[in-house]
């Protein structure tokens, strides 16, 4: 009898009887895995996040992230990392050393930079503007979220989902509202994964067939731009350096993200001489960062954190942030076309959202549906990449004012 009692105590069933909520969270974890594996929604992130949710909600396993207050000692003192590991286990050790310090999102941005080619943007610089308009979802949902009762910091974290950029959303949320990290990260990555659904939907809602047939190459022939780039390699090397310095003067709080992005891009563009660095940044470093980011962000989603009305607010608000961002880009194009002889395809506005490169691919497919010869991919990439800069800048603004 005694042995059976001890055996029972070893298991997690008593915990489950006390509080069955984790079972619901296990279901949420399995759904995320399903979306990542079967539906192929951003599998590189949703699979680790989903598994992290499961790990965190296995009762008695001690893999869930504890709230920040647990490690505060008051008077600006905190438990040290060794004590965190000792007290709360390896997941909290990873979370508090890699995520809560704000380290991994900039590290991932370094890898993203090493995989980014600013070429399409440099060849169509004007189109960058639409990457600005497509941040509209961020600031308008911020307004609505505050009206709906979110605190400004929470609202800022929610709104940044409209930037359609995972690391940016996570970085902003770590600083502003770490208790919402799980749902916001998941909403961000899920909607990014849903770009092939959201963009066509918003485009159909707002654009005429005639607009979608605007052929950018023909427009280029009709109204050729003056700039020819004679030495693209030199331009690509100088661009991240100068850009990084100038943006930093205006929005210094965006430097941890943008600075690392541009550093990654620089070592890539230098080429053979720094190949070891760009290979490492975009390979093992980024991949390892992705694993630990996903698992620990997922592990923040314990049942008491996730099963909250705010989660619904985040899911709904996140969608509108996304949708409004797409519309923002489209309507700036429409406005531009009213005053310019050289017309722009509104799809290029829609991709200002970022979600590189999927948004551009989706936009290209839409264009081809209306005109099988109308390849807009390279043009979309211009606004698409500038949308990444746009949301990092927006994040910097939010952090400056709300952080």
């Amino acid at each position: 009898m005694d042995i059976l009692r001890k055996l029972y105590d070893m298991t997690a069933f008593s915990n489950l009887l006390e509080n069955p909520a984790p079972l619901l969270m296990l279901f949420v974890g399995v759904v995320l895995l399903y979306l990542g594996i079967k539906k192929q929604y951003e599998p590189l992130l949703l699979v680790p996040i989903g598994f992290g949710v499961i790990l965190a909600n296995l009762p008695g396993a001690g893999m869930g992230i504890v709230p920040g207050e647990f490690i505060e000692l008051g008077d600006h003192k905190y438990m040290n990392l060794f004590e965190i590991a000792h007290e709360y286990g390896i997941m909290n050790f990873l979370y508090y050393s890699l995520i809560k310090t704000g380290l991994l999102p900039p590290i991932i941005f370094m890898g993203v930079g090493a995989l980014t080619d600013f070429g399409p943007m440099l060849r169509n610089l004007k189109l960058s503007l639409f990457g600005a308009a497509a941040q509209l979802g961020i600031f308008s949902v911020l307004l609505v979220a505050i009206a709906a009762g979110f605190s400004p910091k929470e609202a800022g974290s929610l709104a940044i989902i409209g930037g359609a950029d995972g690391p940016t959303a996570i970085y902003t949320t770590i600083i502003l509202a770490p208790h919402l990290l799980g749902p916001i990260a998941i909403a961000a990555y899920s909607y990014m994964a849903l770009v092939p659904v959201i963009i066509p939907f918003m485009v159909k809602l707002t654009c005429s067939s005639k607009e979608l047939k605007i052929n950018m190459k023909e427009q280029d022939k009709l109204y050729p731009s003056k700039n020819v780039i004679k030495n693209i390699k030199a331009v690509k090397i100088a661009f991240p350096i100068v850009l990084g310095i100038v943006i930093a003067f205006f929005v210094p709080s965006s430097v941890p993200l943008l600075g690392m992005l541009l550093f990654g891009n620089l070592v890539k563009e230098i080429g053979a001489n720094t190949l070891r660095l760009s290979d490492a940044a975009s390979g093992p470093i980024m991949n390892a960062a992705t694993i630990f980011l996903g698992l620990t962000v997922g592990a923040t989603m314990t049942s008491d954190v996730f099963l909250d009305f705010k989660t619904i607010g985040i899911i709904v608000g996140g969608f509108f942030a996304f949708a409004i961002s797409v519309i923002g880009g489209i309507f700036l194009v429409k406005g531009y076309n009213m005053f310019s002889k050289k017309k722009i395809n509104p799809l290029i506005g829609a991709t200002g959202l970022s979600a590189v490169p999927m948004a551009s691919r989706v936009a290209n497919e839409i264009a081809l549906k209306y005109d099988t010869k109308n390849h807009v991919l390279q043009y979309c990439m211009a606004s698409n990449i500038s949308g990444v800069i746009g949301s990092a800048v927006a994040a910097g603004v939010l952090i400056s004012f709300l952080g």
């Binding site: 600005a132 600031f139 009206a147 605190s151 004679k230 030495n231 390699k233 331009v235 800069i389 603004v397």
Partner: protein
């Protein structure tokens, strides 16, 4: 709440304003760099690379060239050999 709402309204202005300013700057910087490079360093220079191949014990440039050209031909010039590790 109403104070927060005002803050949000301000941020809508400041935020979108900043984003537009920055992306105007992106255009400006991009164009300036392009013009500068076009004028002062219009031609790409030959880069003297630190040669990895000698470390590999690939003694003849012909062999190395064979590898690289194979990769180039087959990938239509889009592939590159990042590393060939000798055991």
């Amino acid at each position: 709440m109403s104070e927060n709402f005002e803050l949000a309204l301000q941020l809508l202005g400041i935020g979108m304003g900043t984003v537009f300013i920055i992306l105007f700057l992106v255009i400006l910087i991009g164009n300036t760099i392009i013009k500068f490079v076009n004028r002062f360093i219009p031609e790409a220079q030959k880069v003297i690379r630190q040669n990895v191949t000698s470390v590999l014990g690939i003694t003849s440039p012909e062999k190395m060239a064979a590898i690289v050209s194979a990769v180039q031909i087959v990938t239509g010039g889009k592939g590159k050999v990042t590393s060939i590790n000798k055991e």
